[in-house]
């Protein structure tokens, strides 16, 4: 399928993967290590070992170290796992054997590992083969194992495929390893849209450096990004293919063309336009024509965001005198106000499960990220005393939130778990970064 080839790209690359071992056929429930709906879930202690070198040259050893590093960092990124310090390990499966028969489960239980990953790396010419096995030292059995074949340059992608598979088996949802983050960064002469991998790696600019580009929004296809640009000296909406760079003008009505948001099925976008003299939200067809007007109140209506089922739309309106979040039921066309705490609530983002909405709230020059249930109950504050925390965007599994923060001086891109824990800087680059948007899962 095209979609996968363009995402995984480099030309002739072919990732063959097949089930290595007949997987024991146990139901997911048997391995209920992670319950993501439990807000107090304990992190699972996991031992990630350096894969065995199955071909005998120095480069294989380096690749094995690299694989273990990516594997450990990626699993830790999810917030589900606690990596056990390598120095505590009693065994080195890379040397002593990586299969169920060879692993000494008792020694792994002794260091507190609830899970163990072993691996093997083989390099023959340009062909890289890697296998990984996930063990449960307490049950003394293999959970699953996979072998991947590709080129040496595909190493990171192979490791992430294993991580993805692992999260899927343990949570029932595909993880974030196949996702990307779009954001805006200052350049020397303007602002541009950039994209990075889920973990802030592989940052690259995708719009011209000397333009002002704002509010990137991933299409549900994971390929296209809608954004506002001043390329024609006024704010218009463009759509750009993240990988090919192909760019098209989407809407350039007189006045504002801002804050595009895709319908969950990709069949159109909502955006704020002002060609009728007032800032209202309109539904636009895929070719940029007005389908219908969705809001009708004097003053600002901006920042639409659809519920995952496409039946509701959150947005920001100044109709009550200060910006607040509202929800429009697209079936009944009735609007209700969602936020009542605070005088400046903007940037609503519906969670992938549809039950909650994240937004930013400003008071006394500080902004913080809040999460509220879609029915207005259960308000929870996720950031505090750390400058301006704005523009929340959920990971597609609903486990993480990416946002911008000025806690370190300038504005940078941060990530935290959906409960506000483990806040860390995701991207370190010059200038101010803002307006992150997490892509959907691609390529599964």
């Amino acid at each position: 399928m095209n979609r996968r080839t363009t995402f995984f790209s480099p030309g002739f690359f072919l990732l063959c993967l097949f089930l290595l071992f007949s997987y024991s056929g146990k139901a997911l429930a048997d391995y209920d290590y992670i319950n993501i709906s439990d807000p107090f879930h304990r992190k699972v202690p996991i031992a990630v070992t350096v894969p065995a070198s199955l071909s005998d040259d120095a480069e294989t050893g380096l690749l094995a170290e690299q694989a273990a590093d990516i594997l450990g960092r990626s699993l830790a990124f999810t917030g589900y796992f606690n990596l056990i310090d390598k120095r505590a390990f009693l065994d080195a499966p890379g040397e002593q054997g990586i299969t169920a028969r060879e692993v000494n489960f008792g020694n792994w239980r002794d260091v507190g590992a609830h899970l163990l990953v072993t691996g093997g790396v083989r390099l023959e010419g340009r062909v890289l083969q890697m296998e990984f096995r996930l063990f449960d030292p307490f049950r003394q059995e293999l959970v699953f194992g996979k072998r991947y074949t590709g080129e040496a340059s595909d190493l990171r992608r192979m490791v992430l495929r294993f991580c993805d598979e692992m999260i899927y088996r343990m949570t029932g949802d595909w993880g974030v390893f196949n996702t990307r983050i779009a954001f805006v960064s200052e350049t020397e002469s303007g602002k541009a849209v950039y994209i990075s991998d889920f973990d802030g790696e592989n940052v690259r600019r995708i719009t011209p450096a000397d333009d002002i580009a704002l509010t990137p929004a991933w299409c549900p296809d994971g390929q296209r990004i809608a954004y506002t640009s001043y390329a024609a000296d006024k704010p218009d909406i463009y759509i750009r293919y993240a990988d090919s760079g192909e760019n098209e003008l989407f809407s350039n009505f007189e006045g504002l063309n801002i804050t595009p948001a895709w319908k969950p099925d990709g069949s159109g976008l909502a955006a704020t336009l002002s060609f009728e003299g007032d800032e209202e939200i309109y539904l636009l067809t895929p070719d940029g024509n007005v389908d219908k007007r969705l809001t009708n109140s004097w003053g600002v209506d901006v920042s639409p965001g659809f519920s995952p089922d496409g039946k509701k739309m959150a947005f920001v309106s100044g109709r009550a005198g200060s910006p607040q979040v509202y929800i429009l039921n697209l079936e009944t066309m009735r609007t209700r106000r969602l936020t009542f705490e605070g005088r400046y609530n903007t940037q609503p983002e519906w969670s992938p499960r549809g039950d909650r909405i994240a937004y930013s709230s400003m008071s006394d020059g500080q902004s913080d990220i809040y999460v509220i249930n879609a029915d207005g109950s259960g308000l929870r504050r996720l950031t505090r005393d750390s400058g301006r925390n704005e523009s929340p965007s959920w990971s597609p599994d609903g486990n993480l939130i990416v946002f911008s923060s000025t806690r370190d001086g300038g504005s940078d891109i941060y990530v935290m778990n959906a409960l506000g824990g483990e806040q860390r800087k995701l991207i370190d680059m010059p200038g101010n970064q803002s307006l992150p948007d997490w892509s959907p899962v691609t390529g599964q």
Partner: protein
């Protein structure tokens, strides 16, 4: 009197220019040059020199013409021209300021806009671009819309004051183009504004 002097000066200039030009056009006779020199080279060099001189003369002539036209204005007309230019400058330099998260026009803003409307009515061929701007507090998206609302308030006022809506274009820059840098009340107040440009 002044007028006739400068006219005479111009005449002399134009005449000498014509004479000079006709001299230059006549090709020099080959036998005028000693045999060991290359007539072609000399001719080329000479022509360049002549053309440079012609160009210089032409420039002088044009400057004189320009000066001549200006002196054609009466002192009253000259004063009117300067005043008109100053009005235009004043129009472009006028800025309307707003309160935080607000797009309504203050009394001061209305006074400024009455002057702006007057200028636009006196200059019926001008098309104005109103830029709406915000301070850097608040979020980018909402500020884009707020900047639009501010520009729109200004436009509405001008239209009510009798300016044709077709001569007014609004554009919002949100918080993207601050007038001054800074994270304090003084800077914020200067950045919450509408500016005027002519198309």
């Amino acid at each position: 009197m002044k007028k006739s002097i400068s006219f005479g000066l111009l005449l002399v200039l134009v005449m000498s220019l014509t004479m000079f030009a006709s001299c230059a056009k006549r090709p020099p006779e080959p036998e005028d040059y000693p045999p060991d020199e290359q007539p072609m080279d000399i001719r080329t060099g000479e022509r360049a020199e002549i053309e440079a001189e012609l160009e210089r003369q032409r420039r002088i002539a044009e400057e004189e013409l320009e000066g001549f036209r200006d002196r054609d204005l009466t002192p009253d007309e000259e004063a009117a021209r300067v005043a008109k230019e100053m009005d235009r400058e004043a129009f472009l330099e006028s800025t309307v300021y707003f309160a935080f998260d607000n797009s309504s026009l203050t009394t001061e803003a209305r006074e400024t806009l009455l002057r702006q409307a007057r200028w636009l009515k006196e200059n019926g061929d001008a098309t104005v671009i109103i830029e709406g701007h915000c301070d850097n507090r608040g979020t980018e998206e909402y500020n884009l819309a707020l900047g639009s609302r501010r520009a729109q308030s200004v436009k509405d006022f001008l239209v009510n004051a009798g300016v044709e809506p077709s001569r007014i274009v609004t554009i919002s820059y949100g918080e993207e183009r601050p007038a001054v840098q800074g994270d304090n009340e003084e800077a914020w107040a200067k950045n919450r504004r509408a500016e005027f440009r002519l198309r």
